[in-house]
């Protein structure tokens, strides 16, 4: 456990998570995962096998001194460090996550570096932090030159994807997704809440949260990584049906159905386990998403659809070609 964070209370927590399929023919086992995620010699990779195979790299820090994105165009310079780490789930889905917390205000002048390094993952504004505009700025994306945690997550992803353990033979085509999140303090006494989950562009999602002030940044990033993982699973499995024309007779031997759906069965269907690594206090933020749009409901329908398609293939095309009675 890291020591409790000291210093002024957190006014805003932000981050971005990139999620992609690990480009390797075989999923990494726990030993390889540890080797893959050993970003630092001085800190160990966190490993756990229940309820899913999970490996988390140590944090890396990136020093920043640049304006924060702000929806109202305000220029707020901020200095500090952004923390980033990577997570591998079941040796198959790779996520990189960058995040920072910011206090409500900081000194008007930049301080010596050593003082920023005391609190890793904290970015201090010079002066007051306009937290609402900055939260919106982070979610909508800033201007060029503004602090972009997505780039830090992407740089870590690029670094990991060059790792010699990867043979660059993913079992299926898939698209990486990005999930940006911002957490503002909840009113005193209130519990955490999920204000909004949006699917912005094709592969961009944004999450806006309210959390009690003492919630650790790690736990919030963990919740968001859990949302990002399951959103990516849904998105990817929905798309496995792209390009196969079901029920047209064009695919008589069923080989294209098998080719498209087989990898999803081999590599993805067993990964669905929402809330598995979320603290109990934050786990209930899943509830509204399960209510509507209903993540697990859609997932179950997809899994049934895939199994039905494969069952139809198993029956064989000959028996299915029964002429409908007039």
């Amino acid at each position: 456990m890291r020591p409790p964070e000291t210093g002024p209370p957190t006014a805003l927590l932000c981050g971005e998570i990139r999620t992609c399929l690990l480009p390797a023919r075989q999923a990494l086992d726990i030993r390889s995962a540890a080797q893959f995620l050993a970003l630092r010699a001085d800190e160990r990779v966190l490993l756990s096998e229940r309820p899913t195979l999970y490996a988390r790299s140590p944090d890396t820090l990136t020093g920043v001194d640049c304006p924060l994105p702000a929806a109202d165009g305000a220029r707020v310079r901020a200095v500090g460090t952004v923390a980033a780490h990577a997570v591998l789930t079941e040796g198959r889905v790779l996520q990189t996550s960058a995040r920072f917390r910011a206090p409500a205000s900081g000194p008007d002048q930049r301080r010596p570096w050593g003082q920023y390094l005391i609190r890793p993952g904290t970015v201090e504004p010079l002066g007051k932090l306009p937290r609402e505009p900055v939260a919106r700025g982070v979610l909508d994306g800033g201007r060029q030159g503004d602090l972009d945690v997505g780039l830090i997550a992407d740089a870590l992803l690029t670094r990991l994807l060059r790792h010699p353990l990867l043979d660059q033979r993913p079992p299926m085509r898939s698209r990486p997704t990005r999930l940006r999140w911002a957490a503002l303090p909840a009113p005193s006494g209130a519990g955490p809440s999920l204000e909004r989950f949006t699917l912005a562009e094709d592969e961009l999602r944004t999450v806006r949260l309210r959390v009690p002030e003492d919630t650790p940044a790690d736990e919030i990033a963990g919740l968001c990584a859990d949302l990002a993982l399951h959103d990516w699973l849904l998105t990817t499995v929905v798309r496995t049906f792209d390009g196969i024309r079901l029920g047209t007779g064009a695919d008589r031997d069923g080989s294209s159905v098998l080719r498209a759906l087989g990898p999803a069965v081999d590599h993805l269907l067993h990964l669905w386990m929402p809330r598995a690594r979320v603290t109990p206090a934050l786990a209930r933020l899943w509830d509204p998403l399960e209510e509507r749009p209903g993540f697990t409901r859609q997932w179950d329908a997809l899994v049934h659809r895939i199994r039905d398609q494969l069952a139809l293939q198993a029956i064989g095309p000959a028996r299915r070609e029964v002429e409908p009675a007039p």
Partner: protein, 305 residues
Amino acid sequence: MLVFAASDKGGTGRSVTSANLAYQRALTGDHVAYVDFDFGSPTAAAVFDVPGALRGTEEPGLHSYLEGEAPEPARIDVWRQTEHPQLRTRPNQSGRLVLFPGDAGGGEFATGADALERCVDLLLRIDNEFDVTLVDLSAGRSYAVDMVLAATAHPRMRYVPCRWLVFHRWTRQHVIAASGLVHTDHGILRGGVERGHDEETLRASIRFVRAAVPDPESPLWAQGSPAQAAWMQACDEALRRLAAEHRIGDSVVLGIVPLEPILQWREQLITEEDVLSTQIANKETLEALEEIARRLTDDAHWGQP
């Protein structure tokens, strides 16, 4: 699968034909990327009718990305951003069609080790996401050609299937030049071997596309005199012999795109509507493009010549 489009000379229809191949593959349901490595003169934005990218995007293009100035290159969703009236309504069951534009005024540049690593990163990421990726390369033995020869020989790319299309027009000079681009001492084959490719494997992955070929039988020439017809036949015969002598004969030709008047006027995508309803394009052109697009992934056309 990565498909590299090369040509020895400009004006061979390389960009416009490969853009049409990308379009045809997307129509069949594949997710397709079109990567504009024609650094001297990026033209793909014009062919796909995406005007934002024509004026040079706000976002960084491939050139900035490879030079390390931008962490990610811009992408343009063609169905969504095109101003081509028939492309605006994305056809049912079509795949994605994404253009990675070059920077306006990019120009050629020397490839360093960093640019090469970034090129490998990019090609791998795109290949992991798209079914077919067409990479349009600057004409000649350009930096673009050298860079992708080095990138595809990189150990990280050893399992990525790569194919090459060399475009040329159907004239003496173009036939000789296209053969030279592949087979001479300064050609793609020798350049590839120097960068670690296996010569036979690389040779087997190269096919030629004859573009803007006048078909003597076509109604376009029906008005000509018998003397003209006989002359064209004789030329065609002579060119076939020349091509065979230069090792780019029929056995290594993936397809032939007939001379298409509208492509002489304007670089554009040929749609079904152009053939069926407005009838400004010839049916044979569309059929040729559809067939070449299909053959890109048909192994029967990629055996050892």
